[in-house]
């Protein structure tokens, strides 16, 4: 670990952390500000929703969800927070070392007296710190919104904490898988398409799988591993599925170090 690199990297993430945090707070406020009217007309809404095709409800994560309860409603908002956090983490992961190669600054960094594993560890720590800060904002805004808009309703704080804790592993999945992908391709020309493809792609897979009623996709996408409806209904995670995410993280981290330590840094053509 090199504190010099950590500071530099974190400095480079800072603006993005602020942007994502503001976006997440905005979307939470937006959704929660309409919650009171949802809750008021809950009966009407439930009746209306039974008329929608099941596939459509599945795709938007609305199947079997009672939107009138606070946690039910939150699990619907949670999905959008998940998508944003997924893209943020994938962005950090894909860009972690590939940006240096794309902008040709890798030569500078790697000719300093530091080992590659130190570079990797410092960069990962900086990305992790950035994600943790974003998640802290999610925690604060979640509790803030729930308390501000709950009206006379109550919610189970332990389930809420469980949901929020899951975000850490969820983001780690996108960070590390993004990283290993960036090291497997020859050259990442632009980070954003990869990050969007990974973040949105796995969301679509989860939604699409719902539509088809195909459960095999559950194995692949962390949107399924960390499905909020399951947590709200059971008060616990679907542990075997969560373990798939954990395994993917471990494999990705090991593979990333292995690949990076052996990588030939491309020269300016």
């Amino acid at each position: 670990m090199s504190t010099t690199i950590f500071k530099q990297e974190f400095g480079m993430h800072l603006r993005s952390v602020i942007t994502w945090s503001v976006a997440i707070v905005a979307i939470m406020l937006l959704y929660f500000s309409i919650y009171p009217s949802f809750a008021r007309d809950a009966e009407l809404l439930s009746k209306m929703m039974t008329r929608f095709p099941k596939e459509l409800l599945n795709a938007f994560g609305l199947s079997g969800v009672d939107l009138s309860t606070l946690l039910g409603y939150f699990s619907f908002v949670y999905l959008y927070v998940q998508i944003m956090l997924a893209i943020q983490a994938a962005n950090y992961g894909v860009g972690l070392v590939s940006i240096e190669e794309r902008e040709w600054t890798a030569d500078f960094l790697l000719t300093r007296p530091v080992a590659r594993h130190q570079i990797m560890t410092s960069k990962l720590s900086a990305a992790l710190t950035s994600m943790v800060i974003t998640q802290a904002v999610v925690w604060i805004s979640t509790f803030g919104c729930l308390i501000a808009f709950k009206g006379d309703k109550t919610f189970q704080a332990d389930i809420l904490i469980l949901l929020l804790l899951g975000l850490i592993v969820f983001q780690l999945f996108f960070l590390t898988v993004g990283l290993v992908i960036s090291l497997l391709v020859r050259r990442v020309r632009s980070v954003t398409p990869y990050a969007l493809a990974l973040g949105l792609g796995l969301y679509v897979l989860s939604a699409f799988g719902d539509m088809l009623g195909e459960s095999k996709f559950e194995l692949l996408t962390p949107f399924k591993h960390f499905n909020p409806h399951y947590v709200v209904q059971h008060g616990a995670y679907d542990l075997p599925l969560v373990m798939i995410s954990v395994a993917a993280i471990v494999i990705s981290v090991v593979a990333s170090y292995w690949l990076y330590l052996r990588r030939d840094i491309p020269a300016v053509a």
């Binding site: 902008e103 030569d107 500078f108 000719t111 007296p113 130190q118 030939d264 840094i265 020269a267 300016v268």
Partner: protein, 290 residues
């Protein structure tokens, strides 16, 4: 003990050739010129020593230690100036240089400002606003600020105006007088001729000659020019003659061997002018590449 040693160093990029069986040594305090055309393997060799890339086979050692295994520790003493310089565009020059300095286990502040002053570098501009030549100056300061004992310069003068080139050469010579060993890759022979003690010539990934720069010039070829009326170039068709040219009564050629053979031939005819001189490195170099 050699400062740099390559031993049967080979690098393939997949199936593409990088360098093949490259072996050489550079002694302490030398300025070693590494010449060859684009794509010959100059940068590949330097990048192997900096462990930016890993060899397919063979070993690279610096100060007697394996360049890869002891890379981080060795790089405390290594300065590197690439041919194309790229830095974090959004940073200010001073921030980049301080960032660089923070990696070394010594205080670089004084030397940093000394070098920036010498190179007339504006420290408070952003990297993205700098011209190519100014980025190059950042590169020079960055490569020297930690007072390394070994310098890798990869075609360093590209993008520097003549005045800055001169300053740069003076700087390198001063560093060398302090005992710094310099590995200087270039395809501009006049600068190698001016600066280096020894040269290695690389062609298509292989070292084809390593020689003292003076030996290279003296022992090998003479450049001969003879002016005479009605001269038949066949008159100089001797063993050891190459590049024979005839143009308007002027015959030019390169000769390797006993110069008396040429002198006798010249003595047989009436000439209006004769010059026999050492070829420039450029001409020797072209010869190697034909």
């Amino acid at each position: 003990m050699s400062v740099i040693e390559a031993s049967h160093l080979t690098k393939y990029y997949g199936k593409a050739r990088g360098i093949l069986d490259v072996s050489f040594q550079v002694e302490e305090g030398e300025i070693f010129g590494f010449i060859g055309p684009n794509g010959a393997g100059k940068s590949t060799t330097i990048r192997l020593f900096l462990s930016l890339i890993y060899p397919t086979s063979g070993t690279a050692t610096i100060f007697g230690k394996d360049a890869i295994r002891y890379g981080p520790e060795l790089r405390q003493e290594i300065g590197y100036l690439p041919s194309d310089v790229f830095y974090y565009e959004r940073m200010k020059v001073i921030d980049l240089l301080n960032y660089s300095a923070s990696f070394y286990n010594r205080d670089c502040t004084r030397r940093l400002h000394e070098l920036a002053g010498l190179m007339e570098l504006d420290l408070h501009r952003r990297i993205e606003d700098l011209s190519y030549g100014n980025k190059k100056k950042v590169g020079i300061v960055q490569g020297l600020l930690h007072q390394p004992r070994l310098l890798f310069l990869d075609e360093p003068t590209a993008g520097l105006d003549p005045l800055m080139q001169r300053k740069f050469f003076q700087l390198i010579q001063q560093e060398n007088q302090r005992g710094v060993t310099v590995f200087f890759s270039s395809h501009i022979l006049s600068e190698v001729q001016r600066l280096c003690n020894r040269v290695g010539i690389i062609k298509e990934g292989r070292i084809i000659e390593i020689a003292d720069i003076h030996t290279l010039q003296q022992n090998n070829y003479k450049k001969v020019r003879v002016v005479a009326d009605g001269l038949d170039p066949a008159h100089f068709d001797l063993p050891g003659v190459t590049g024979l040219e005839h143009h308007n009564g002027v015959v030019r050629f390169f000769f390797k061997g006993d110069i008396n053979a040429v002198m006798r031939r010249i003595g047989e005819i009436t000439v209006s002018d004769v010059t026999i001189e050492e070829p420039t490195l450029e001409e020797i170099f072209m010869h190697y590449y034909e």
